[in-house]
Amino acid sequence: MTAPVTPALLYLDNVSVSFDGFRALNALSLAIDHAEMRAIIGPNGAGKTTMMDVITGKTRPNEGIALFEGSHDLTALDEAAIAELGIGRKFQTPTVFEMHSVEDNLLLALKEKRSPFATLLSRRTAQERERVDALLERVRLTSSRHRKAGELSHGQKQWLEIGMLLAQQPKLLLIDEPAAGMTDQETADTADLLRDIARTQSVVVVEHDMTFVRDLGVKVTCLHEGSVLAEGSLDAVSANERVVEVYLGR
């Protein structure tokens, strides 16, 4: 590994992605620090999910730089390798293993050896059990541990998926629209949970819900048509003329 070119944990520079000529990301640049939480806002189709696809190796950018910890080139790695580096991702629609129990969902996500051979011979240890117990407690699913994940409510699935991210012990969590479909109380609880996570890990949250973003109380980046429109505190960003234009102009 060469010496880090940036102190940021995640560093995107001039990233562009086009789908059949349509530019979903247009010279996007963004830097996330260690243990920083960042909220990403922006109208539908602004490129928020596509940005996460680039960071996690699902989509290869046409141009630009994506570095993790200053030295890992994310554009050259596949999803599994990027996950191994310490980037976890929650999908826009909650995606859990519906046929597995809540507990097994977490167990599969625990940071352990991932090769077929290792999983074939693995035996559950007391230590794994403790970690699962702690995670269940943290995402408030202890009483549902034996239920099939498919039977959970929408909000519970969102939390289970966040629990799975935590089980991976990632350095960076990418969280796409966690509050979608949640009640007000659940939304507030989710903001609490994310703030708690952000004390030790970096978190990037994409969200439409402005109350939620205000609850988070962190630096906000507004995307529009694939590039950064404004960046700063929520108040500063919402006062930005161009941001107002984009949101009202819809």
Binding site: E79, R89, T95, L107, L108, R145, H146, R147
Partner: protein, 378 residues
């Protein structure tokens, strides 16, 4: 903890039934008086043996389709390759007893005017090597095929189509005389295996019991795989492939591992099938055969292992009966059965039976409270 035991209640039932079959069929063949209703006549023993081999083939398909979502429509190819490896051993056992009395060359080679044994036939007169090939040839083909297919992330219907293409291509290849596998006649006229005459009732019983043992062993192996953490990853891939990738699992490695293992099981099934039916020819590669296997699994109940065995036995017994009574209509009946099961019993016979069992159980006992019992158990 939801650590699945290797032997749950269902597996114990399956193994007990297989043990009963392994004892009863030979016993009723030898001990029951011919003519009594209990007697299993000599020609039924290899017929039942054939069903057992089909059940092992169905098991191999359920392992990948039921648990990992890989719908192979080409598993007949691995079955046939295992069968050919065994057939080559049996051909070499004929020795000078062939029509042309050549001490080394099988009849079809003499007929084609070949002067010496092709290199790939060498060593097949030795059963351990042939047995190794029964595993290695299907395994290697599956590995190479899977390497390319899974790495390029070919999934769903596209994968199914290329598995069909694979078995079809192999069928055309094996039809050719110059391939060295007997062309469209295939390999047949076998005499004995390890010195035991294949026509003898005792040999047939031996092969039958061996097939049941192989099925039980295959079942245990599959249970071990699916109840491990590896098996949980397979189900995760089946239900949410990209989620599994973003958790850091190399999905293609898992698919490749289970696909190769499954092909080897199919190869074993084919190898046990050939001495019992007495012939292997390129029609075993026919694409329709592979589709039929998938129907057995769907009928029995996908993703249950036991259902695959049940489906293979039920459909094949039905086929034997049907082709005796109304031979022209068998394919319509099979198609109809498939449509019926897909529409009305999406979880197959086993799933439907479980539903009925649970519904009747609920009526008898007070409703269970899974949450509370789970808490109490901790």
């Amino acid at each position: 903890m939801t650590n699945q035991p290797l032997l749950d209640r269902q597996s114990i039932v399956v193994l007990a039934l297989l043990a009963a079959v392994a004892i009863l069929v030979p016993a009723l063949n030898i001990l029951a008086a011919p003519g009594s209703v209990l007697h299993v006549s000599d020609h039924l023993v290899p017929l039942f043996g054939k069903y057992i081999c089909f059940a092992l083939l169905a098991l191999s398909v359920d392992l990948i389709w039921g648990f990992c979502g890989i719908l192979s429509l080409g598993h007949g190819a691995f079955f046939a390759l295992g069968g050919y490896a065994m057939g080559m051993y049996l051909m070499r056992q004929i020795g000078p007893r062939g029509v042309y009395s050549d001490p080394v060359l099988p009849d079809f080679m003499v007929f084609l005017n070949w002067k010496e044994l092709p290199w790939f036939w060498h060593g097949f007169d030795w059963l351990p090597l042939a047995a190794l090939m029964v595993l290695l040839v299907p395994g290697a083909l599956a590995f190479i095929f899977g390497w390319f297919a899974f790495r390029s992330r070919v999934t769903g219907v596209y994968l199914s189509i290329i598995t069909q293409a694979m078995t079809f291509a192999l069928m055309l290849a094996f039809f050719r005389n110059d391939m060295g596998f007997g062309g469209n006649n295939g390999l047949t006229d076998f005499k004995d295996i390890l010195g035991f005459p294949l026509q003898a009732a005792s040999t047939r019983i031996g092969l039958f019991v061996l097939s049941v043992a192989a099925l039980a062993g295959g079942y245990l192996l599959c249970r071990w795989v699916v109840s491990s953490k590896f098996g949980k990853v397979l189900v995760a891939v089946r239900d949410a492939e990209s989620r599994t990738r973003f958790l850091g699992y190399r999905v293609e490695h898992y698919k490749l591992a289970v696909f190769t293992l499954s092909a080897m099981l199919a190869g074993v099934a084919g190898a046990l099938y050939v001495p019992q039916v007495g012939i292997i020819n390129p029609s075993e590669f026919a694409p329709a055969n592979s589709i039929e296997v998938v129907i057995w699994v769907a009928v029995g109940g996908r993703g249950t292992l036991a259902g695959a065995i049940l489906g293979a036995l039920v459909v094949n017994a039905g086929k034997t009966w049907f082709t005796g009574v109304l031979p022209e209509f068998w394919l319509f009946a099979l198609g109809g059965l498939f449509v019926f099961v897909t529409l009305l019993m999406p979880r197959g016979i086993l799933g439907a039976a479980k539903d009925i069992w649970e519904r009747s159980g609920r009526r008898l006992r007070p409703a269970r409270v899974p949450e509370a019992t789970a808490q109490a158990a901790e």
